[in-house]
C-alpha cells in the first residue's frame, strides 16, 4: 500500500511540475509521463495492479491538461460520501440528506477503521471520485467531517455541531432532487488563506457540475456558507417565487429546507487524509476537553463538600481532645 501511495505522490509531483511550468507544452507533460512510466515499471516488479493505477493517473493528467484550455472548462467533481462506524442516527440522517442534495455524490459503505484513513484515497479512486466527504463519529456523540481532495489533498477536518436534519418538521421547504444549487459564500471566506482554501474545497463539493448525470433543470435552492463566531454555518433554502401579476419580476422569498449544521475547522492537512498540517485552529477546544471541564466542575462541588465535612470532623476531634486530668484515675 505504501508503494501505491508513493506512486500517487510521485504522480502528484509530476502534475505539480506541469502546473508550475506556465508554458505547459507537450514536451514537459510528456517528460512527466515518461517519469511516471519509468516509476511504474520499477514498481511493477512486485505488483501488476500498480501499473494500472499509474495508467489511470496518466489519463487524469491528460484531462487536466484539457482543463487548462479556456474553452473546454468542465467542472468534473465527483464526491465519495461515507462515514465511519459508530455514528448516531442523526449523523446518518445528515449524511443521507447530503447525498440527496449532491447528485454528484457516490455513497460508500461505512469505513471500518478509524486509523487507516489513507484507505479512503484508494476507495475514492476505485469509485472514480476526486473529492471525499468522510464523517467520523467518535464516542457515539461527536461528529467530525473530513473534506478532502483525493488523492493529493489538501484535506480539511471539521468538527460538526448543531446538526438539524431535513426530516425535522420545522424545516418546511422542499426542492427538486438533483437541481443545481446556487452556492453562496460569505465575504469572510476571501479574507484569509485558510478560508480561501476551505472555500475552494467547499465549492468543489457543494456546487453541482453541469455534467452530472442525475441533475434536473431549474434552480430552486440556495446553499449558504457563512462565517460567524469562527465557525462555518451551513444553510439550505428553497427559492419560492410568488407571482403577484403586478410586478415585472416575481417576488422571491426563501424557505429553509435543511439540513443545518455548523462546522468548526480543526486542521487543514497538506495531503489527503495525511500530510503535514498547514493550518491548525488554536481556538478549537475538543469536545472531550469540554466534557472533562464540565465533569471537573461537578467534582469540585462534591470535593468541597467532602472537605468541609472532613474539616468539621477534625475540629470536633480537636475540641474533644481535652488534656488528660491526673486526678481522673485516683478514685477508681
Amino acid at each position: 500500500m505504501g508503494k501505491r501511495r508513493e506512486v500517487i505522490a510521485s504522480s502528484k509531483q509530476s502534475i505539480d511540475m506541469e502546473y508550475d511550468d506556465s508554458s505547459s507544452d507537450e514536451e514537459t507533460s510528456y517528460l512527466g509521463k515518461k517519469a511516471l512510466l519509468s516509476m511504474a515499471q520499477q514498481n511493477s516488479n512486485e505488483d501488476e495492479m500498480e501499473v494500472e493505477v499509474d495508467e489511470t493517473k496518466d489519463k487524469k493528467v491528460e484531462t487536466k491538461e484539457k482543463d487548462n484550455q479556456p474553452k473546454e472548462f468542465k467542472n468534473r467533481q465527483r464526491i465519495m460520501l461515507l462515514c465511519s462506524r459508530g455514528i448516531t442516527a442523526r449523523h446518518r440522517h445528515l449524511m443521507s440528506d447530503l447525498q440527496a442534495l449532491l447528485p454528484h455524490a457516490k455513497k460508500d459503505s461505512k469505513l471500518d477503521s478509524k486509523s487507516r484513513l489513507y484507505i479512503l484515497n484508494e476507495l475514492a479512486d476505485i469509485n472514480n471520485c476526486n473529492n471525499c466527504i468522510y464523517f467520523e463519529g467518535r464516542k457515539h456523540t461527536d461528529l467530525y467531517m473530513w473534506l478532502s481532495k483525493t488523492p493529493n489533498g489538501p484535506s480539511i477536518k471539521f468538527h460538526v455541531t448543531n446538526i438539524h436534519t431535513m426530516s425535522e418538521l420545522h424545516l418546511t421547504g422542499n426542492c427538486l432532487k438533483g437541481s443545481r444549487p446556487i452556492v453562496s459564500f460569505d465575504k469572510t471566506f476571501d479574507s484569509t488563506p485558510h478560508y480561501k482554501l476551505i472555500k475552494e474545497v467547499l465549492l468543489h463539493n457543494f456546487s453541482t457540475p453541469t455534467t452530472s448525470r442525475r441533475i434536473k433543470p431549474f434552480v430552486d435552492h440556495v446553499i449558504t456558507f457563512s462565517i460567524a463566531d469562527g465557525r462555518i454555518w451551513f444553510r439550505n433554502y428553497q427559492i419560492v417565487e410568488k407571482d403577484d401579476g403586478t410586478k415585472k419580476e416575481k417576488e422571491m422569498s426563501l424557505v429553509e429546507i435543511g439540513p443545518r449544521f455548523v462546522l468548526q475547522v480543526m486542521r487543514i492537512f497538506d495531503g489527503s487524509f495525511c500530510g503535514s498540517t498547514l493550518y491548525k485552529n488554536g481556538d478549537f477546544v475538543s469536545p472531550n476537553a469540554i466534557r472533562r471541564f464540565q465533569k471537573q466542575e461537578m467534582s469540585m462541588k462534591y470535593n468541597t463538600r467532602v472537605n468541609k465535612n472532613l474539616e468539621h470532623v477534625k475540629r470536633l476531634e480537636e475540641a474533644n481532645n481535652l488534656p488528660s486530668d491526673p486526678l481522673d484515675e485516683v478514685f477508681q
Binding site: 508503494k3 501511495r5 505522490a9 510521485s10 505539480d16 511540475m17 502546473y19 508550475d20 517519469a35 516509476m39 487548462n68 472548462f73 467542472n75 487507516r116 489513507y118 489538501p154 418538521l169 420545522h170 418546511t172 422542499n174 427538486l176 432532487k177 443545481r180 444549487p181 446556487i182 453562496s184 459564500f185 465575504k187 469572510t188 488563506p193 485558510h194 480561501k196 482554501l197 475552494e200 465549492l203 468543489h204 431549474f218 440556495v222 449558504t224 457563512s226 460567524a228 463566531d229 454555518w233 444553510r235 433554502y237 427559492i239 417565487e241 426563501l254 486542521r267 497538506d270 495531503g271 495525511c274 500530510g275 503535514s276 498540517t277 498547514l278 493550518y279 491548525k280 488554536g282 481556538d283
Partner: protein, 382 residues
Amino acid sequence: MARRGKGKKTAAQQKKNNELKKEVEEVSLEEEVPKLENIEETPKTNKKNSKNVKDVEKEVKSVEENDESSDSDNADIDDFISEQTITVGNGNEIDNEENNEQEEEENENDEQNDNQENLDEEEEEEEEEQEQEEQERPAINNIPALNKRYNEIRLDTPGVKIPWIELQAITYNKDLGIDDKTVHDDLKRELAFYEQGLAAALEGRKKYKELNKPFSRPDDYFAEMVKTDEQMSKIRQNMIEESESIKNAEAAKRQRDLRKYGKKVQTEKLLEKNKNKKMEMEKINRLKRKRSDNNDDDFDVSLDFNDNDNKNNKPQKSKKRLAKDKKFGYGGKKRGSKQNTAESSADMSGFSHKKMKATTFGGAKNKKAKRPGKNKRMASRR
C-alpha cells in the same frame, strides 16, 4: 509486528520527551543522532525548521529521491497506524519495554534514512504528533503552503475562463452583521443567513435571465423531490397544528385577561343596576304621591298596577295582615289605646252568669277530691 511495537514506543517517547524537544530545537538537519532519546527529537525539529523551506524544496526534489524514500515511508505509515491505535488505548508504556532492545537497532536504521529524507517524512510525522498537539494547542498557520495549495486546486486558474453557470457560486459582499453577541441570538443570526441566501438567489436569477435560461420551475413540472410527499404532508399537518395551537393559546390568553377585568366590570354593572333601581323607585314614589292625592285607598293603586307599570311596585298586604290591622289598628297613636274608657268598662257583653256559677273563685267546678295532706293521712291510719 516489531514495527508495530516500535510505533508504540515512539509514541511513548514522544510524550516523555516533550519538554526535551524544545531544548533540542537547535539541532540541525544533518546531525547524527546516536542515542535513542535524541532519535525521536530530530525529525520533529527538522520538520519545524523545514516547514517553511519545505514548499520550495518539494519542487526541487527529484523523482529519484522519492524512490529511495519508499522504504522508510512504509515504515512511517505503520508508525502512524500504531500511533493512532495507541492513542485510543493509552496503555502503551508497558508493552514498549519488551521490545525495547530489538527496536533500538531498527530505530537507528530508520532514523538514518529519516535524516536523509526528512522532507518526505514530515507529512507522516505531523500526524503522529496530532494528539499531543491537540493537548498543547499551538495554532498553526502556514500561509505560503496554504496559498500554494489553494493555487493548485483552484478551478479558476489564470487562463481558464469559467462560465458562471458551471459553478453557480456567489460571494455575499455585505457584512453579515453578526458579532459575538448576536451570534447567540437565533433570530438575528438566521435573518443574516437568510439575507445572504436571498441576495444570492436574486443575483442568480438575474444571471439566468441574462443567459436566457429557465430559472424557476414551472408549476406543471413534476419530478422527484428531496423530501417525500409523506414527509411534506407531515410537515403540513404540523404547520396546521402549530397554527391552531397558537390560535388556541391566544384565545386562552384573551380569556384570562377578560377574567382579570371581569370583576371590575361586574362591580360596575352592580352599581349601575342599583342606580337604576333607585331612579325607578323615585319615579314610583312620585307617581304614588300623585295617586294618593286623588284616591285615599291603597288598593286602588294596586288595582291600577296592571294598567300602569310605573305606578306602583309596592307589595300588597296579605288578608291576614289586613285583618290584624283592622283588629289591632295600624298606624296612628299607640299611647292610651289599651286604657279603659267609660264605654269599655260599662260593656258587659263578655260577662256570663252561668260561667260565673260554674266555677268557684280561683278553682274549677268539678274538681276531683284532692289527696288529703300527710298529717290527715297519718291521723286516719291510727
